[in-house]
Symmetry: none
Subunit: 223 residues, 2 copies
DNA sequence: TGGCACAATCAGGAAATTGCTGATTATCTA
DNA sequence: TAGATAATCAGCAATTTCCTGATTGTGCCA
């Protein structure tokens, strides 16, 4: 039989062991190795030449996206599936940009893992259903339409205008609509409009969500 | 046979499935249920009366430490093992303070899980080896020698009541007043009162400030 | 054991904010 | 130069917050 050889890379031993168990119950799939951080993952890939690598994003040494990029460049025959806790659009786009073939949420059903692996082996791109299907085409359209913009890489800088980032920061810092209006010398209505545009773009529709977004994208710190 | 009945509470389906597989390969242990967030965990505990609950810390609705505290109070026959990504001393101490019987890193070897469960069933306290053994004695010494000093901890657990922390978490997770009222089955007016008390106690008078506070005090993550 | 502090619950009503629809002006670009 | 997008603002209904005050239960302690 032609087994699909899989390598698991995740910081957490227990998680790796759990995933390994799940995979070993699936027919046609064999776990040929594990790695406990990003750098080790690259070594194991070189050593084992797996068909598929399951990469956690949050790894020490080298994060999963970084690893994915190098795998795509140096080992093009190896397919990458990102295993992530976050449905965060930024991460998904970033993953696709660096050549990942799959993006699976840790929140997925176990059999999704099997489906994902087999889809990727067939040459398809697999995303967890909860991640909008339009992402890929949107993304591809975006980079083919304006390839130069690519270096703006990840986060907020491609999604929001300068004014919007300015206002997002003020919101996350705790300013009220009225306070922002005074600071920026515009009407409160204008601030409201900006806020709703920001929310629309980010797909986040509550203030706490904006604050968390601002923190994780580095616009402000939580301190 | 006297099986040890275990309940698994973790936000991520895949992780739960993996842990379940691991446990099912261990003799004398049976997984009798799962929960995908803190509140659901309490419901399942009430329903199933497990011997052991494995609680992830980072759960939505109610975080693992909060759940542990309530389990310890309302279901003293149920033992709690915290499953965490972090060896963070604060977390460990907090877990012990709220009555957890075990603190296991997700980075542990699979068989540690078995060891931990069986130790806890025997009435022992189990901590992952990588967590300094001195923690417990240090902690105990500290609280017996100068119990007043407790306020030096300065974290949420002393400043807010359990209910208030619960609501702070929900706020920071983006729930509206109305949504929280429905989830907690109280009136919106009650939520409003809680929120204003929380703000009063913390001296923070805006939602973004609460969110940042919740993040830096570990009640939620920014992800 | 009576009372005190405090937690948790809820209400009324004024005041403030938001959401929604729609509009104007300036700028940049295909 | 037309079309898309950004930044600005308004009206108004609906929702939410803020402030004051009240009730109930519980633990504590003098």
């Amino acid at each position: 039989m032609n087994q699909i050889n899989v390598l698991i890379a995740d910081d957490h031993t227990l998680i790796r062991a759990g995933i390994r168990e799940l995979l070993q119950n699936m027919s046609g799939i064999e776990v040929i190795g594990e790695a406990s951080n990003g750098r080790e993952a690259l070594e194991r890939i070189k050593e084992f030449s797996p068909d598929i690598v399951l990469l956690d994003i949050a790894m020490s040494e080298l994060n999963g996206l970084e690893v994915a990029e190098r795998v795509n460049k140096d080992f093009p025959s190896v397919s990458v599936i990102i295993l992530s806790m976050y449905a965060n659009e930024e991460y998904v786009l970033q993953a696709l940009k660096v050549g990942a073939h799959g993006y699976l949420l840790k929140d997925s059903a176990p059999n999704e893992l099997e489906i994902a692996i087999k889809a990727v082996i067939r040459g398809e791109t697999y995303l967890s259903p909860s991640i909008s299907k339009t992402l890929v085409s949107d993304y591809l359209k975006r980079i083919t339409e304006s390839p130069i913009e690519e270096k703006n890489t990840s986060n907020v800088f491609i999604k929001l205008t300068s004014r919007q980032r300015e206002i997002l920061q003020l919101i996350a810092e705790g300013n009220s609509t009225k306070e922002m209006a005074v600071k920026l010398n515009v009407s409160a209505k204008t601030i409201e409009t900006h806020r709703s545009k920001i929310m629309e773009r980010l797909g986040i529709h509550d203030i706490p969500g904006l604050v968390r977004y601002a923190i994780r994208s580095g616009i402000i710190s939580s301190q």
